[in-house]
């Protein structure tokens, strides 16, 4: 079912031993076979992908090097702007909108020889943990079509898991890359805030959003992150440094590395099968020479509350612009105010409305200090507690998701239950720190489980070393 690793594809295409066109055709064949069931994409760019592949092959034939992603099919979450191509955020309000510009990450992928094969489904405006909040219908988990793929980047996770693309990009505001990666059995990385330019990523919560890679293996994820990371003058919050070296450190091992298991996120509320895999992962790291102990990051328990005030507050402001004036859908009204109300009422789904209202409330006169202001102070506490933990540890470990993939519809009636899915992933967003989910074993239901590796700001290299060891441990059957 799979087209092979991105790393191998690029090497073969660059060497001229495999054509990009053949890769893309295989990929599109997989889409033809299963996309009807999975619904990973809002838009499949078959013709464009084939044309791009032909262009790559022509360049190789010409003796040129198309770059590190030569001929690699990449799926883009449909909240990344693509010039002239529909970009919807899985929302009715943006249906049909074609941005006049490419997101910076899209430019970098294309410049590296990558081939965009489609725009993937998501929870509307990235608000959700199951990809059920899409205006265009849910995405299903390729491992079990009755289950959700996680979210909000469920389409990207499913696309990689189903072999529709070798790589995919998602965005992670509270776990939206890592959680679907865990549920779909792929690698998902939320980089340090500011490592990857957000220019062209349609904002959900600006101080938390970060673009990151999905891949079938750790090395491919490192490869894609190297391509998209690095300073971008179009994003003020972009770290003014070059992209880090990640692929080269993957074989460095974890000997002597100090690994802490976050006790606050590894007990109550986490399913036993998930915990069992977490401890198996810890054991694997110990076997590889790491020193594993329990770590305490007390304030992480407040992460969920802080997040569900900060993220909706920022979202309420970021989503104000969808007013029917400049782009997107409009529902007419007798006055501009009525037109705006009608447009937004018809254009947004229930979850988006809930979060806009929650955020509006959290910022409104008289409640700012109690809600948004307080949440920002809690954010400081979380950063402080992480800093203390990182005095003792190089990386931290915890589950990615409290459970394996759940059934479609299981949590849609109760938003708070859905929000609780993000409890392990949210603290890294609040702290701006990198974290990634690595597939590690399966649950009692046979569905994938992800282990989450967390690192301090710009600690991607160490994080990837740990991830590589976890991945290798699985390959030799060194886990439960």
């Amino acid at each position: 079912m799979t087209i092979g690793s991105a790393f191998d594809i690029a090497a073969q295409v660059r060497a001229g031993t495999r054509s990009a066109r053949a890769v893309v055709d295989e990929c599109l064949a997989a889409v033809d076979a299963r996309e009807g069931d999975v619904h990973a994409f809002n838009l499949v760019l078959a013709d464009q992908a084939r044309a791009a592949a032909d262009a790559i092959d022509a360049r190789v034939a010409n003796g040129e090097d198309p770059g590190p992603l030569a001929g690699v099919p990449v799926a883009l979450k449909d909240n990344l702007c693509t010039r002239g191509l529909p970009t919807t955020c899985s929302s009715r309000i943006l249906e049909g909108w074609r941005p006049p510009y490419d997101a910076s990450v899209v430019q970098r992928i294309v410049a590296a020889g990558g081939i965009v094969v489609g725009k993937t489904n998501l929870d509307e405006f990235a608000m959700g943990s199951s990809t059920e909040n899409s205006a265009f219908g849910p995405t299903r988990n390729p491992h079990d079509l009755s289950k959700v793929p996680g979210g909000s980047s469920g389409g990207s996770a499913a696309a990689v898991a189903a072999g529709f693309a070798a790589l995919a990009l998602g965005s992670d505001t509270g776990g939206s890359i890592r959680q679907p990666a865990a549920l779909c059995g792929v690698v998902g990385v939320k980089p340090t805030y500011g490592l990857v330019s957000r220019y062209g990523l349609i904002a959900f919560a600006s101080s938390l959003d970060q673009i990151g890679p999905f891949a079938a293996n750790v090395r491919d994820a490192a490869l894609l992150l190297e391509v998209i990371a690095g300073h971008d003058e179009m994003d003020s919050t972009s770290i003014p440094q070059a992209s880090p070296s990640l692929v080269d450190v993957l074989d460095d091992g974890v000997d002597g590395l100090r690994v802490g298991i976050i006790e606050e996120l590894s007990g109550e509320g986490i399913a036993p099968d998930v915990l069992a895999q977490l401890h198996a992962a810890a054991t694997a790291l110990e076997k590889a020479g790491a020193i594993v102990e329990t770590a305490s990051v007390p304030a992480t328990i407040y992460g969920l509350s802080a997040y569900y005030l900060i993220a909706p507050a920022e979202a309420s402001s970021n989503l104000a612009r969808y007013d029917g004036v400049r782009y997107g859908n409009r529902v007419d009204g007798a006055s501009t105010t009525e037109m705006m109300e009608a447009t937004r009422t018809a254009g947004f789904g229930a979850e988006v409305k809930r979060r806009i209202m929650l955020g509006t409330y959290a910022l409104s006169a008289g409640y700012y200090d109690a809600y948004y202001g307080k949440a920002q102070r809690v954010r400081t506490l979380i950063i402080r507690d992480f800093a203390r933990a990182y005095e003792r540890f190089d990386v931290l470990l915890c589950p990615t998701s409290p459970t394996t993939a759940f059934a479609l519809g299981a949590k849609t009636a109760d938003p708070l239950t859905m929000y609780l899915n993000d409890v392990c992933t949210i603290p890294s967003n609040l702290a701006g720190q990198p974290a990634m989910s690595v597939p590690f074993g399966v649950g009692d239901d046979g569905m994938p489980i992800g282990v989450q590796v967390l690192a301090p700001l710009q600690g991607e290299a160490t994080m990837f070393r740990v991830a590589a060891v976890l991945e290798a441990a699985q390959k030799v059957g060194d886990h439960v």
Partner: protein, 475 residues
């Protein structure tokens, strides 16, 4: 003329929005230019397209800090905030501004007459687009639809908020006038009220004279010229007094100056208008100017209009107001240096005020100084001086050579005396009347003789010397 009836006091604070004259907008590289075709200076950022992000124009911050320092403000570490409200001229339906941590605070502006007006804050924010109202009568109410142009959206503004220290319409006008002069002097804005690059909102209230309370104020917007500031404030203050006199009271609201009808009128109150849900703009980072930055800004500031007026008034021993005319024309530096080089201050000011309105042309300061010296040493008559001056401005050269080429040489006093005696001899009747007249009438008759002398000497005679000779002969 008093603005308000006896027994009342007018209280006013001003909010002045000043567009900064940067090349590009505050957060994107689109041109900051007035008058271009609608929606031609727009990009994903200033249209607020999904996914776009702001990147701060460093020059705008530099200009804002300059303005802050020129207004004697403390320049602080500052943070941008989002002010959230829906309006079609705002591409993101929020305005990026500064809220609780503005760049400039606690400054002041001294009016030319000497009064000090506090400047509460001068913060950086983005301008909105422009809406025009079509159908109906073209005004916002009654229009069938509106059109939006985002060329102005994202243009950098500094909003300068004064303390309620202003006590008359005249002071308000003087404040805006002086602020405009400062802004122009430091070159951060073209400050054209007619093009909207300087916009004034006035907060007006009244109170019984002698009281210290602050009563309900109304904010007057849409004041489009320097002259309408006075009228709008005066109208509004008297409207309040009328309400109080009738046993009513004004309520806090935003009102609009209606230039056509010379009155303020209530805007429709905007729903939930006071709940702007400010929070720190997450797409922008804090500004933390260093002490070195502020020192650099201070060093870059030119001498400001008040100091220039004071400096010229000092050396010329005239009022600051009179010096102000020359300062406003930007001719004070020339005047100051000429006086410093020894030229007679009174003559320098008269020449600049009257004969050099259009500038100094090709004339250097040194040449001007020498010309004034020739005049004050009676080597040239006033008339001759004016002619030489005109030629220096037009073509340059040295005053001595120009005077010589025109034959403007001071006449020997013996030659002059001979001419005077000849004229007396030729006009005996008039001379007798002159001698017999009292001083007042003599003066009138003298004009006749002086004219004859100037004609005879083709203007070369020095008026003072001529008068002396006549008075000697008459005595």
């Amino acid at each position: 003329m008093s603005d308000v009836p006896e027994g009342w006091e007018l209280i006013c604070g001003l909010e002045v929005h000043c567009e900064l004259a940067t090349t590009t907008k505050l957060f994107c590289g689109c041109r900051n230019r007035f008058g271009d075709d609608a929606n031609t200076n727009v990009c994903p950022v200033c249209l607020g397209l999904p996914g776009s992000l702001p990147v701060l124009n460093g020059e705008a911050v530099e200009y804002a800090m300059k303005l802050g320092r020129a207004l004697n403000c403390t320049v602080n570490a500052s943070v941008f905030a989002r002010k959230n409200y829906f309006y079609p001229d705002m591409p993101r339906d929020f305005q990026v501004t500064q809220f609780d941590r503005p760049t400039n605070t606690m400054g002041y502006l001294d009016l030319p007459a000497g009064k000090r007006i506090g400047v509460t804050r001068a913060h950086i924010e983005e301008d909105t687009g422009k809406t025009s109202h079509a159908g109906g009568d073209g005004r916002i109410h009654g229009a069938e639809y509106s059109l939006v142009d985002y060329n102005r959206a994202g243009v950098p503004l500094v909003e300068i908020v004064s303390e309620p220290d202003i006590r008359s319409a005249d002071e308000a006008k003087a404040y805006v006038d002086e602020l405009r002069k400062i802004v122009l002097a430091i070159g951060v804005s073209d400050a054209k009220m007619e093009e909207g690059s300087m916009r004034v909102d006035a907060n007006v209230s009244v109170r019984p004279a002698g009281s210290t309370e602050f009563r309900t104020r109304c904010e007057i917007k849409n004041i489009n010229s320097l002259s309408s500031i006075e009228r709008a404030i005066r109208y509004e203050a008297n409207r309040h007094i009328g309400l109080y006199d009738a046993g009513e009271r004004p309520h806090q609201e935003t009102r609009h100056w209606d230039e056509e009808n010379q009155r303020t009128r209530a805007g429709r109150s905007k729903e939930n208008s006071d709940d702007y849900r400010y929070f720190p703009e997450p797409d922008l980072l804090p500004l933390e100017p260093s002490a070195a930055d502020i020192a650099r800004i201070d060093a870059s500031l030119p001498l400001l209009p008040a100091a220039r007026r004071g400096r010229l008034a000092d050396v010329a021993t005239v009022s600051a107001e009179r010096a102000g005319l020359i300062v406003d024309r930007g001719q004070d530096e020339f005047a100051f240096r000429a006086i410093g080089a020894g030229a007679d201050p009174a003559r320098v000011l008269v020449h600049i005020e009257q004969n050099l309105k259009d500038g100094f042309g090709a004339m250097g300061i040194d040449e001007f100084v020498r010309l004034v010296a020739m005049e004050t040493e009676n080597k040239l008559s006033a008339t001759q001086t004016k002619q030489v001056l005109a030629e220096l401005v037009a073509a340059g050269g040295s005053p001595e050579e120009v005077a010589k080429a025109r034959g403007f040489e001071a006449m020997q006093s013996s030659d002059l005396a001979a001419i005077v005696d000849k004229i007396i001899a030729e006009n005996p009747d008039d001379w007798q009347r002159f001698v017999a007249a009292d001083d007042k009438d003599a003066n009138k008759i003298y004009g006749f003789f002086a004219g004859l002398v100037m004609k005879a000497t083709q203007g070369k005679a020095d008026g003072k010397a001529v008068r002396e000779i006549f008075m000697q002969r008459r005595a």
